[in-house]
Structures are given as C-alpha cells and as structure tokens.
C-alpha cells in the first residue's frame, strides 16, 4: 500500500508539462504489477486525484481497479466514476496509453450490459470514441462497442453520429467486421436500406482467409436487404475473398431459397417458403426483415407494370399484384407515390392510373448543388487513393516482394533499339 501512496504522490507532482508526464509514464509502467496486486483497494486513492489534470495516473489506477473483480454493490459507483473520468479526461494524455483506456471502456461496457442499463453507456462511450480517435477517419475498437450499446438500448439514431463518419484507417480487422455488421443493423432499424446494404457489403467482401460467423450473419441480412431494396441479390464482386465466395451460400441455404422464390414473383410460393423456414428465420432474429421482404413483393410487382403500361385500370393492378380489390390497389399505389417509389397519377373518375417518367430534369439549382457536392467528394477520395498508392510504392516490404518477382531481362532485349540502326 505504501508503494501506491508513493505513486499517487508522483502522479500529483508530475502532471504539469509533457516531459514530466512522459517521466511519469515510465514510472507508472514499472508499477503496473504492484497496482494490480492492490486492485480492490485502489478506490480511495482515486478520490485524491483530479481526472482532468492527472489523467494518465488516474487511468493506470482505474485500469488496475477494473481488471480485478467488481462486486455488485460497487458496480454502480464504478460506472459513475468511469463516466466522470471519460467526460473530464485530457485526450493528449489518453493517447499515451490507448490500450489502457480501451480496457477501462470495455470493462465499463461489460458492467453496463451486466446491470442491464445499456442507455447509461451511450453518451460516455461516444465521448470516449471521440477522445481516443486521432482523427474522425480512424476506426477504433470502441466504435463497435458504442454501436452495440445503441442497438441494445434501441437508441438507433444515436448510432448515426458515429456511423456517418467516413472511415479510412482500420487497425484491427475484427473491429471492422463488427463495426460494419452493427452499422448494417442500425441502418436496417432506421430503414436506411441503401446504407445498410453498403455496410453489409463491406463485411461480406472484406479480405479474410477463413469464413467467420459475423460474415455469415451479415450475408443473411445482405440477401434480405437486397431483396427489399432492389428485388434481387447481386453476385459476388471480383474482390470478394475466395473463402467467402466458396462457402457463404452453404451456410445460408434458407435465405438463398427465399431469394429464388422471390424472383419468381409468386406471392403464395414465397409465403410457403417462409412458412417452412420460419423457425430458422426466428432463431436468427431475422423474421421481421423476412416479413418486410414479403410485403415488398407487392411493390415489386406494381413497379414492373410501370415498365410495360402507360395507363392501367385499378382493377387490373389489383389482379396483377394479387390484391383483393381496386381500393386496396389504389391505397398501395398512393403509398408508393408518397414514398417516391413510382411516378403516377390516379384518376378516380375513370378508375385508372397513369404512369409517368421521372419528372426530374436535372436542370435546377438544387440538383446542381447535389452534383457539385458529389463531385467534390469524389475528388477528395481520388486524392486520398493516389496518396495511398504513392505511400505503398515506397513501402520497403512491397518493393522487396516486387523486386523478387521481376523477371530477369535478357541482354538482347536492351539492344532492341540499337539493332535497327546497324
């Protein structure tokens, strides 16, 4: 215990300038074992420190405390301490020991989940992610923990503030898998199906040597969202790993069957397929999504009509889309017009629907702004890619590999030009 008191005195004394802090850092690293052995008794020492000034020292003590077991009575107090720490800590000092910070946050997340109060962890973890990141383009381990809490607490909108950042740096592949999978789930919950598809696509096409469970679950949802959004499941792009290419369909057979029945366009067959596989869908927690696939079949059938007809009676639409009466057909068409899924006008007097082309002429100021914005983003992305390419071509590992694989040129080939003039 004396060693801890001495350490606390050091922390209080050596936290003013960056040099002092780095000296403190080495002292703390030496005392890690001592701290862990006193884990359960560190609580009173924490109250002697100020988390905003003595961040690094506080962090080491807190991490040692959280590595021990925390009793049920102390749990809520622990949560409040971590919340206060995250809110007032200094980001520069955190960057000196990021693994410790991540460890504290993970213990925090585990406690929050164990106590059944995920909402308590959302605001603090958001702050933790922002303080841990060196830039908004970096993916940290905490991103997926934050999204997990948002999902459990059903605060889906809170997840968007992190999800909408563009990520360019990924340190650990596992972070990436979980982040994109949870991101896909949050987007599905908010019915942003295009973004969900992009997230799930990233999981399915990520580089991997063997298939993992996250990828399998993501592919199941990928099939369902593709059906809802586009009516079909695209084939794997070229850059998909061979492990995914060969094995994914084997693990997701009921979903592949569903996609095939959907393509036939027959409501009754699709319903039958869902009935047979209902338990499987239920155990995967995908039944809600499957029901959305079913109701999207109506829309798909009506959309197909717009490609063939200019005007059609409501009765005919009801027949084709297997609806009960023209009034139901009218309500469906009205909903689709409201959601912007088709362009049409209903003429109640004659009981007819006229289908139109997309009235957008791309001439307005608003559209120009939109196109401008997209072009700017593409230019920024293109610059990033070229700088990435430049960095890679200077990388010593890359150069050594390329050097080994270069074929040795024959002497003759160098003389091809001079021969002509002989």
């Amino acid at each position: 215990m004396e060693s801890v008191e001495v350490l606390v005195a050091h922390i209080q004394g050596l936290s003013r300038s960056p040099d002092e802090v780095s000296h403190l850092h080495s002292l703390l690293k030496q005392s890690e074992d001592a701290l862990r052995s006193h884990a359960s008794r560190l609580a009173p020492f924490l109250s002697q420190l100020d988390p905003s000034i003595h961040t690094l020292g506080y962090l080491f003590l807190l991490e040692a405390y959280s590595s021990g077991s925390i009793s049920g009575e102390e749990a809520s107090g622990f949560l409040l301490t971590v919340v206060e720490f995250i809110n007032s800590c200094s980001a520069e000092q955190i960057q000196l020991a990021p693994e410790k910070f991540i460890s504290v946050c993970k213990s925090f997340k585990d406690q929050v989940m164990q106590l059944g109060v995920p909402m308590q962890g959302i605001a603090p973890l958001w702050m933790a992610v922002r303080k841990l990141q060196t830039s908004t383009e970096q993916l940290t381990t905490l991103h997926s923990d934050y999204l997990l809490l948002c999902l459990l607490a059903k605060c889906y909108k809170a997840g968007l503030s992190i999800l909408d950042d563009d990520i360019f740096e990924v340190d650990h592949p596992r972070d990436h898998f979980l982040y994109c999978y949870y991101g896909g789930m949050i987007n599905i919950g908010l019915k942003r199906f295009e973004k969900a598809l992009a997230c799930l696509h990233n999981v399915v096409t990520a580089p991997m040597t063997t298939l993992n469970a996250i990828c399998v679950e993501a592919y199941k949802k990928y099939i369902l969202v593709s059906l809802i959004l586009n009516g079909q499941v695209p084939s794997f792009p070229k850059y998909t790993s061979s492990a995914a290419h060969r094995n994914l369909k084997n693990y997701t057979q009921p979903y592949v069957d569903l996609a095939n029945f959907y393509a036939s366009g027959k409501f009754s067959e699709l319903e039958a397929c869902i009935q047979t596989n209902q338990e499987k869908f239920l155990s995967d927690s995908n039944l809600g999504l499957v029901k959305q696939v079913l109701s999207s079949l109506y829309k798909r059938n009506i959309q197909r009509l717009t490609q063939t007809y200019l005007t059609l009676s409501l009765q005919d639409i009801a027949n084709v889309a297997q609806l009960n009466n023209p009034k139901e057909a009218e309500m469906h068409v009205l909903q689709m017009i409201q959601d912007g899924e088709i362009f049409a006008t209903i003429n109640q007097k004659d009981g007819m629907v006229s289908f139109h082309e997309d009235p957008e002429q791309y001439k307005s100021c608003r559209m120009t702004e939109h196109i401008d914005f997209s072009i700017q983003r593409l230019m920024a992305l293109s610059k990033k890619l070229s700088s990435l390419d430049d960095n890679l071509s200077c990388d010593p590992q890359y150069l050594s590999k390329v050097g080994k694989e270069r074929q040795k040129f024959d002497f003759d080939e160098f003389d091809s030009v001079s021969h002509k003039f002989m």
């Binding site: 605001a123 059903k154 006008t345 100021c365």
Partner: protein
C-alpha cells in the same frame, strides 16, 4: 427549518459520494437523482420558441446525458413531448423505439403518452383519417396543446400536397377523408387552391401548382468547373 439544513448538508456530500464507490444495492434511486432536480430547460426553450422540429433531438441528447449519470429519469421525463417531437419530424422509427422503451407503469398512469402514440400509430399504418381522430379525441394539457395544433396544421398541408401530386381527379368524399374536414369545408379548401369541382359526379379536378425551380447559376460555379477540369487533367 431543521429539515432544510439537513438537506443542504447532505447536498455537499453528494459529490464526494459520487467519487467514492458507495454501495446502494437496495435503493432504486441513485444519490444524484434523489437530491438534484432534472434540468429540462432546453426542452422548454424549444417549446417556447416554437422550434418543434428541434424538440426530438434536444430530448434525445438530454435523455442520454441523464441516463449516463445513472439518474432514474423515467418518472419525471416528458415522454409525451418527446414522442410528439419524433412524430413532428416524421421520424416514426425513433417514435416506435421510444414507445417500446417506456416502462409499462408509466404508460398506464399517463394517458397523454398513449394518446400521442395513437397519432404515431395511425401515421405508421397510413390510417390517414385516423390521425385527425387521434388529434381531436383527446383533451391535451396546456404544455403540449400548441405543439399538437402546429402538427395538425402541418399534417393537413402535407396531405393536400400528397393529393396534389398523386391524383388527377378525386371524389369529394375522399378529399374530406384525407383532409379531416366536412365535405363542404373540403370543397371550399380545394376551390381556394385552384381546384375545380365537377358537381355532377361529386369529383374534384386537381390543378397542380406551377413549381418555379431556380435555374440561375452564379459565378462561383465557374470556379468549381475550373477545379474539376484541373483535377481531371492531373
């Protein structure tokens, strides 16, 4: 007087309690929640300035902040206003999730929350006329009345715009149904907006308003075009 002094003495200790790990296993309320009142002024500011579209975000942020401090906010939280905020912003997904998270005892003891949810439900199931019934079928409290009225006016306008874009001719009964008005009032409303009435078959002919889309370009666009060409050349 003695009770007051006991409270103020204990208030100073609250901060210390928060720092140390005081077990409070059996108690339902956390120390902080018991002694400090919830500061709901950001929400009240939005309501006072009629920024109804901002209410949902303000409520979300404040709720997460209170939750992070372990405060049991549910008993005094203005769920009705929070729900109506989501409905006002047409974010029915968030409204549904919020409804699911409200504890059962609170739903049963506060009928206003259930009444707001009824509006959200009708919007979700596209029961267009049901929305009006839900709005008119409850005696709203003073706090929330102005917001409900604003929502109702907004909704009527949106319904009218929808009819404009989706129909070329529509029966008077249906217009009255979608706008939540009597048939006569509906006819007046429609005629005011330039629609024509065909009284023989009780149909209204829709006249789409001329939308003026801005087409003028300003010089800064030229600068941007130069940037694009430069980028493409290099």
């Amino acid at each position: 007087m003695e009770e007051l002094s006991v409270h103020s003495r204990e208030e100073k200790n609250v901060e210390e309690i928060a720092r140390r790990f005081v077990p409070y296993g059996g108690r339902k309320k956390s120390p902080l929640g018991f002694y400090l009142a919830m500061d709901l002024s950001p929400i009240q500011k939005d309501l006072a300035s009629k920024c109804y579209s901002a209410v949902a975000d303000t409520c979300d942020d404040l709720m997460l902040k209170l939750a992070s401090r372990g405060i049991r906010y549910q008993d005094e939280w203005p769920f009705a206003i929070h729900l109506l905020g989501h409905v006002f912003a047409n974010d029915l997904n968030s409204a549904r999730f919020l409804w699911k998270s409200i504890p059962l005892e609170i739903k049963e003891s506060r009928p206003e929350i259930v009444a707001v949810w009824k509006i959200g439900q009708c919007l979700w199931t596209r029961d267009y006329a049901g929305v009006y019934d839900a709005i008119r079928g409850f005696d709203w409290s003073a706090e929330i009345t102005a917001m409900v009225v604003a929502f109702s006016e907004n909704y009527t306008k949106k319904m009218f715009q929808m009819l404009n874009s989706a129909y070329s001719t529509i029966s008077v009964t249906d217009v009255a149904h979608f706008l939540g008005m009597s048939e006569d009032r509906a006819i007046d409303y429609a005629l005011q907006h330039g629609w024509k009435l065909d009284s023989s078959c009780k149909m209204v002919i829709v006249k789409k308003p001329k939308t003026v889309t801005e087409r003028k370009l300003d010089p800064s666009k030229l600068q941007r075009l130069t940037e694009y060409v430069f980028h493409l050349e290099h």
